[in-house]
């Protein structure tokens, strides 16, 4: 593949990125940002590859630091997004909150 193919990937991805989030209510801005944040944690793949090829101790150490940071970004990002969204699920069952929660509302 050549530079043009790369450019094609890049430009098409830009349009997909614009398109998928163009109509989103303010309610979901925070979870969406957090989810997108988790997705760029996929830099972990790059960190793994680079670390696996490292030949000096310094490169290995820096690579492992990158792996740790990328993992924090990715795993933490998805978990915190899920936690945010978990809280939205109750609203689709209007009867639930009133009854189920009497105990929680002390």
């Amino acid at each position: 593949m050549d530079a043009m193919t790369l450019l094609t990937f890049f430009v098409l991805s830009v349009f997909v990125g614009f398109e998928v989030v163009s109509k989103v209510s303010t309610t979901l801005h925070t979870p969406l940002m957090s989810g997108a944040n988790a997705i760029h944690g996929v830099i972990l793949v790059g960190a793994i590859i680079v670390t696996g090829r490292s030949e000096s101790t310094l490169a290995l150490v820096l690579g492992l630091v990158a792996v740790v940071l990328a993992t924090v970004n990715m795993v933490g990002g998805f978990v915190v997004t899920d936690r945010m969204l978990e809280m939205f699920k109750g609203r689709s069952r209007p009867a639930g909150p009133g009854g189920g929660d009497a105990g929680g509302a002390r």
Binding site: S13, N37, G52, V67, A70, V79, G104
Partner: protein, 498 residues
């Protein structure tokens, strides 16, 4: 391990990329958001597994140990953080992602094994050779016979280091601002803009030098370290002048930055998954940043470069001496209990006091008395767009009574009481009436249209934007001072005795 053929590798990465697109799509709609996030997580996990199975890796145990360490740090942080502190956690996650991308690109530029040509290096690396997804074997192949990294790849690498470090340092500052480790006010000093401009110019010059070195050789590690250092300083200077209320928008912007750095590092590594995923986040993050800014009635350039001038804050001096009408919990209970329609306007103070459950209890009590209760949610109530919806959902407040700003403003005209709990800036009429005020132009909840206004406030201290609220001194306003949860608990017991 070398278990996957290039085709399977490419296919695995393709599936992961599709997962990311579906994730973003799912996250854009309430019904599918949670599933979307899980799909994204699945895609990421698949990508990591594919990377392990397809690359000929050394130090595998060390890498796995590092992943375990990252998980042990990340998961408890994400699980335990209070929902009110979630914005700064997201900022931190974003920052470390930027730092990781910068490290990856720098290592790849410096430590790429020096063989005859880039193409040969890559050919030892089945994940990147051949046909299919991951497989452009480096631009150097296309460009000719470089023995070095190649011009375009080193440009992408320099970009990654620069922007990744800006994102990391900037995110650390936003974290400090939101965590109140430092002032939430804009930090400006004489010549700050020139320092920022100069720093940026130096960083760009260093990046250009990296490209020159990389065009027919390998950039020196020292030069990359210097570039990283200058970029960190630029990142700090970039975010310092941003006012507290605008910080969430900057987090979103830095999120988009990190996405672009991941895309650029995908370029350096010849890895299409990184390229596509990073670009997706960069593009959607840019749109999201604009949507957020629009929700606050601000333009991105005014946020970044039009640092709030603290002194233009309307009526600071004389305002402090003016009389206010403060009431007891019983007074508030009578107002609420005998109203026909009450609009509750929750703000960040409510969340900080963990009073979401108490406010719901109050709302239920009032409804039992036949009072119509709705919640007016400002788009940026809390610390981020949509943050308040998350916090109220946590307390199981039914979604149907949460009204967005456009719906609730007409309702406020017919409301007997507007109950403002721990909010200030989002109901400040100065946004409509005082052209000099920093929040001028921001859409607000028009609680001044209600018959009576009750503020539950900790003190007369102004809100996050640092502006006085004239409405507090209005004759129809009653104030109840104290912690939101204490005050609400007292009001609840007073309503019960009515």
């Amino acid at each position: 391990m070398n278990l996957l053929s290039p085709t399977w590798t490419a296919l695995g990465y393709l599936v992961a990329a599709v997962c990311f697109i579906l994730a973003l799509k799912g996250l854009s709609s309430p019904a599918t958001a949670r599933r979307g996030n899980l799909i994204g997580a699945g895609g990421a996990a698949l990508a990591v597994v594919v990377a392990f199975l397809s690359e000929d890796l050394h130090h595998e145990l060390a890498i796995i140990a590092a992943i375990v360490v990252g998980t042990v740090v990340g998961v408890p942080a994400a699980r335990r953080v209070a929902m009110t502190q979630m914005p700064q956690l997201v900022a931190l996650f974003n920052g470390v992602g930027g730092a990781a991308a910068a490290l990856v690109a720098a290592l790849e530029l410096v430590h790429r094994p020096q063989l005859e040509s880039y193409g040969i290096v890559i050919s030892g690396d089945p994940g990147s050779r051949g046909f299919g997804w991951t497989a452009f074997s480096g631009l150097a192949d296309a460009a000719g016979f470089h023995t070095g990294v190649g011009g375009i790849a080193s440009a992408a690498g320099a970009f990654t280091v620069l922007v990744g470090c800006v994102s990391f340092a900037g995110s650390c500052i936003t974290f400090a601002k939101l965590q109140e480790l430092m002032t939430g006010r804009p930090v400006t000093f004489p010549g700050g803009q020139y320092l920022f401009g100069g720093g940026l110019a130096v960083a760009v010059a260093l990046a250009a030098w990296v490209v020159v070195q990389g065009a027919d050789g390998r950039p020196s590690g020292l030069l990359l370290a210097l570039l990283a250092l200058v970029s960190l300083v630029v990142g700090v200077l970039f975010v310092l002048p941003v006012g507290g209320a605008d910080v969430p928008i900057v987090i979103s912007l830095l999120n988009a930055f990190t996405g672009l750095t991941v895309a650029a590092s995908g370029y350096v590594l010849s890895n299409t998954l990184l390229l596509v995923a990073g670009t997706l986040v960069g593009a959607s993050g840019t749109i999201l940043t604009r949507l957020m800014a629009a929700a606050m009635g601000r333009s991105i350039s005014s946020i970044l470069f039009g640092a709030f001038k603290g002194s233009t804050a309307g009526t600071v001096g004389p305002g402090s001496d003016r009389p206010v009408r403060s009431g007891s919990p019983e007074d508030v209970a009578i107002l609420l209990g005998y109203a026909r329609k009450v609009v509750i306007v929750p703000g960040y103070g409510l969340a900080v006091a963990q009073a979401q459950h108490t406010i719901r209890e109050l709302a239920e009590l009032l409804e039992a008395r036949g009072v119509e209760v709705i919640y007016g949610i400002h788009p940026v109530a809390g610390r981020m767009p949509g943050h308040m919806n998350v916090l109220l959902a946590e307390a199981n407040v039914p979604y149907e009574v949460l009204k967005e700003m456009d719906e609730v403003n007409p309702e406020l005209k017919t409301a007997d009481v507007a109950l403002v709990v721990g909010a200030n800036d989002v109901v400040n009429p100065a946004a409509k009436t005082t052209p000099g005020a920093p929040i001028y132009g921001m859409p607000i909840l028009e609680v001044d249209q209600a018959q009576q206004v009750v503020f539950l406030k900790r003190s007369m201290r102004p809100g996050f934007a640092g502006i006085e609220n004239d409405l507090l001194y209005d004759p129809k306003t009653m104030l109840l001072f104290g912690d939101a949860k204490d005050s609400l608990t007292k009001v609840v017991s007073a309503v019960k005795t009515l």
